[in-house]
Each structure stands twice: as C-alpha cells, then as structure tokens.
Subunit: 369 residues, 2 copies
C-alpha cells in the first residue's frame, strides 16, 4: 500500500547553510501555531492560544460512533464509548506541554520540519480518567512490557502511511499520572486538541500525548512504531539510530516587555525600571532556578521563582530590570531544574531538531523618553 | 516620541526574486494562525481554528476596568462599561471573516509581511449589540462623515507608534449590520479575538473588525489613520497612494481530499469517486457559482452550491470527482459572486499583498490500490 507513495525522502532533511525557510515549512507554520509569548501571562492558557501541532489532518470523529478499544496482553479486553469513559473516576490536572520540536527553526543548520521558534508550549487543565487503574482492572499480563496508543489522525510521513501512534514502556504508562482526557479548561475537548479523547502524559514532550485516541494495546515486546523508532529521535547523522525523545528538558520563557515592532517583533521599552515576567518548566522535576541576562547572555542574575501551582505545570518567575542605557540590547532567560540540568547558551544540535532548549533571545530597543 | 524608533523602512518591502521566507516572517506565522483547511467542514469554526491576526500584542485588558468611550461629533457622548453594553439590545450574527493579506506569501514577488498562504479565514457566531442604533441615540452631528474605531493593541509599524485604529465612512458604519460583539460562538470573547469587546463589520476584510475596542469617535473629516491611509492599500509602486482595501473579494476554498503527506501536505487519494467539499464567500454579495478544476485550471465544471446559512456567512459547495488516472494532478476551485466578479487564475499582484483572491491549488497524488 505504501509502495506508491513516492512523496518524501526516507530520512529527515537538514537545510543547506544558505537555504531559507521553504513554502512547505511555511504551510506547516500557517496550520499549526505557537503560544503568542504575551500569553505567558495566563496561569492556564486560554483555548486557541495553547500551542497546536497536528501531524496529518484533524480527523472528523463522530463522538457518538467513536469507541476506544483497549486490548492486547490483558485478561479482559474492553471497548468503551464516551459515556463509559465519563462514568469512570475523574480527575483534573494542570499540565504544561511543549512540542519536542520547539526551537527547531533557530538551529543552524536547520532541520526541515515544522519550523518552531520558541513558542510551542501551553498549560491547560485536563479532565479525564486516570489510565493506570483502567489497565489494572483489565488484568495486564505478566509478560507485558509496553503500551501502544493509536489516534485517528491518518497520513504519510517519509513515505510511511500510518495512523499516528506512540508507545510507552509499561512502567511509564502505569506511573506518572497519565490521563485519558475529554475536557480542556472545563470544556469538551476542541477538535484540534483530540476530541473526543486524548492521552495526557505529564512531563513528556507533546508527541506522547496521543490525540483522537482509538486504540490502546498492551504489548509483550517494546513498541516499535514510526513515531518512536524513526521520528522522535536524537540523532547526529543520517542512519544513526540515536536516542529516544522522552521528557521535557528545562526551559524558561519570558513574556516580552514593552511593545513590539510589527514586522521584526523587536520590543520597545522606556529607560527605567521594568518587571520582567515569564514561566519555566521541566519534565525532569521542579525548576530550582531561573536566571535573566540583560546583555545577551554575558552576565546573569537570579529571578524570583514561584512554586508550581501543580506538580506538572510551569512555574511563574519575575525579575526587576533597570533599563538605564538607551539603545539596543538582548534579553535572555534560562532555567535549571532539580537534577541540576541548565539550559544551554550554545545550541544543542541534532538532525531532527528535537528536545532543543537553547535559551530564548529577545531583541529590545531601550528608548529615552 | 516616534523619532527614536528606527525599527523599519517607511514603505512595505517586497522580497527579492531569490529571497525565501525570513525568520521575521516566520515569527509572524508562528504567532498568528490560519484555519487548518480540513476545518472548512464546520459550518461555524470552533474557537482556536478561526484564523487569527494580531498586529502587535494581545493586550492585557481587565474587563472590570475596561471602558468604551463613544464621542466626537455627537450630541451626547457616553462612556460605557461592559454591563452597559450587555444591557443593550443583543443580536447574534454568523459572519465569515478573511484577512486582507490572505494569499500574500504565494505572490511573486512576495510582499514581506504576515506570510499567509490560503487559510486566513473563519466563520463565527458573534453576539453583541448593533452599532447603528447606539450612534443614533447619541445624536450624530449633521457634519459627521466618518467614524474611527480604536483598540488597545499597541505597537509600532513602519516606524509609526500607534494603537491599532481603523475608520469607516459614516454610511458604512451605519449600514451593513455592524456589531459591538462580546461573545464568539456563545462564549465570552477569548483574549485573542478582542475581549472584552470588538467590532464586527460583516462583509469587510478582517482589518475593519477592530479588536479590544476602547474608543469610537464620530468625525467631521474622513478618517486618516495609518491603517486606512498607509497599511491597507492596493498599490503597485512605492509612494503610490493607491486604493483602499474594503470588502472581501469572492473566494472558494476546498477541504483537501484524502490524507496528507506530513511535510509537503500533498494529498493522497485512491482511484475512484470522491466528493470534494468546500466553502465560498464574497463581501460583494452572495456567491452565485463555484467551479472545480481537476487539471490545474485548464478545464472547469460547476459544483453544487448551497445557499448561505446567513447573509454574511460562507456557502457550502460540493462536487463529485472521478479520479481515474493514477499519478499527480492539481485540484482548483473558484467562486463567482452576484456582481459577476470571478476569482483569477493568474495572480492579481499588489505590493502589499492585499485582497488577493488567486485560486487555491491542491497537489494530489492519485493512487491505484
């Protein structure tokens, strides 16, 4: 079936040094969208401002006809409709999700894919039923080692026709507060965020949070689908198997101060005191430190960091900045999580542009009023 | 105050023939977003899928502190809070809005600005109070000729610092079902669509629908702000005053059939019969005809066109297509409105890339199963 689909090279492509953004990349940027950075002001991101990445098309799922099949290496496989899922114990979790490709388009050379700059993130209140008790009820076999999650999003990627599908180890699926979510911010899931049901996998990059979920299969072998074994990998060279992309690396983002120039997004601020604000998160545990640089990363000072409002949500930070020299400068911020991992000032390049947490840089024009 | 802001050239820029999309354009594409074309399936676009263009930043408006000042050449100027607006007669209108810059990034040479391809459109149910009766109650002066609408969105554009502001002739402001809207699809306006109040100007391109509205001023001279006299113009050469951008030109869009290749968005369809579906609209009156081409615009056939579900909303169309030859082709569609205006197959270029309604082209790979 896929033999006809001579649509794309087999490997991820890296742009030539002189190659600017293509119309193919721009098509993806126009469909998908980031969090406008001023929306970092909201503890919970309003619907429509949360980042969105759809691999193929938003599927046309009829919620009445929709079913979730849970099977594989379990004693009692089941098929659930939406009422069945809603009748189960419910919980609400505030979770920050970032796309694994965030920052890709700023890498040199640039991996050719969805061209994120720094804005592919959001925080929502997800309501649904916990996954672990459901698996326990169905009787997971002693030989089970992994769980596959399949969505209704259908397309072809590097010549491979597929429904979007991701796997987790059984340990990761059973621990970590995974949720089968049917509400976002207290409303039914919007179509683009996975209606009627999606997986939420707190702490993981977005690729693990399978949308438009239709099948969960408990496996006796590690999951070996395209999105785990080919797409979301940290590789340095073509053909390199690399390492899997897993949990979010620490990152801080700043809500850009002042006001913007339309075309360049350069910020204009007046000479004087400014409170810089932003958010920071990590899938590796709480953020312990946020630092700010007002001189493009040469010197750093500690910001004031608030505790998280939930275990899996971003933390607010603020920093009092005195802008005393008219002219241009660049503001930066960086996070350190409890494991001691700190965001890099030099780019951590890989050929698919994954899990890159290079510090944000905000060009600012300080003016004397 | 603006003399310091050496941020951009005075005129809109056109890309060099060999110049690809820049990171500046990409930043705008990542913030703003189009309608994913498969979302043409919804009569009313769900929140988060409607196209969004924010000139500067989404402002941080406290709805309790917010006020709307209505003044200028009226006998009884007023300042309204949100309860005052909500206490007025309410109406709900289903309105299709398209960005005047839609299609810009496909023009050759490419005007450098928000780089839309074909997807900057959406249809929402806007609830609010009609503008015309409010103006009548306040006693519009006999010498009044225009109305200015100012929003809270603040920035600098081509060196000019400004709140986003647009004007309409008094005739256009009084007729045409203009609405001061505080709900979108039955919910309070989301921040990005103008909370707490925006103007909805049915039939006009998006630039007229001022978001985060704070001031309405009745004028005794034609409105002469930046967005009317400089930004939204149809010009052929730098310095040319040109013509104003006003109402939406006819356009049809197709919901792409089959399924997509991730990177190129090329569609894969099987040999056989397919029902192609889409929407069509015009600010110049009802659409009277939609045609489809399955051979890249060489031959055309009539689609079946449904009447509009409201005076100001898009119309659904469908077309039975027999894909009988395996291989690549390009699907197109075009609308003709009641004035007889038909979408062009050759680009209608202007140097700011405004009001361009070049036909959509969808690359398709037909496969033999």
């Amino acid at each position: 079936m896929t033999g006809d689909l001579d649509l794309a090279e087999g490997a991820a492509r890296v742009a030539r040094p002189d190659e600017a953004v293509s119309l193919d990349e721009l098509q993806l940027a126009a469909r998908n969208h980031g969090l406008p950075l001023e929306a970092l002001r909201y503890d919970v991101t309003p619907v429509g401002l949360h980042y969105l990445l759809v691999h193929y098309d938003i599927p046309d799922v009829d919620p009445d006809a929709w079913r979730l099949a849970v099977g594989g290496a379990v004693s009692r496989p089941v098929t659930l409709d939406l009422d069945d899922v809603r009748a189960r114990p419910a919980t609400t979790a505030r979770v920050t999700i970032e796309c694994a490709g965030n920052g890709r388009a700023r890498l040199l050379p640039r991996p050719v894919s969805q061209p994120w700059l720094t804005e592919a993130v959001g925080t929502a209140e997800w309501t649904g039923t916990p996954l672990a008790p459901l698996l326990d009820e169905l009787g997971v076999g002693d030989d089970a080692v992994a769980v596959g999650f399949r969505g209704a999003d259908h397309g072809v990627e590097r010549g491979v026709e597929q429904d979007y599908e991701r796997g987790l180890s059984l340990d990761d699926a059973r621990t970590g507060d995974l949720l089968l979510a049917y509400e976002m911010n207290g409303q039914p899931l919007p179509p683009q965020h996975g209606a009627p049901l999606r997986l939420v996998a707190p702490g993981w990059y977005g690729m693990a949070h399978v949308k438009w979920l239709t099948h969960i299969e408990v496996l006796t072998e590690p999951f070996a689908g395209f999105q785990n074994d080919t797409a979301y990998r940290l590789t340095q060279a073509e053909g390199d198997a690399g390492e899997p992309v897993t949990r979010m690396r620490p990152r801080a983002l700043m809500s850009p101060p002042g006001f913007p120039d339309f075309m360049t997004r350069t910020r204009v601020v007046d000479v004087g005191d400014h409170e810089l604000r932003g958010r920071a998160w990590s899938g590796g545990g709480p953020v312990r430190r946020v630092e700010v640089s007002a001189d493009d990363g040469r010197t750093w000072a500690d910001a004031e960091l608030a505790p998280a409002t939930s275990r899996w949500a971003w933390q607010a930070w603020r920093y009092r900045w005195r802008a005393d020299t008219p002219g241009r400068t660049t503001l930066c911020c960086r996070a350190t999580d409890e494991s001691g991992e700190v965001q890099p000032v030099e780019q951590p390049w890989n050929r698919q542009g994954m899990a890159n947490n290079l510090v944000q840089r905000i060009p600012v024009l300080v003016r004397q009023r």
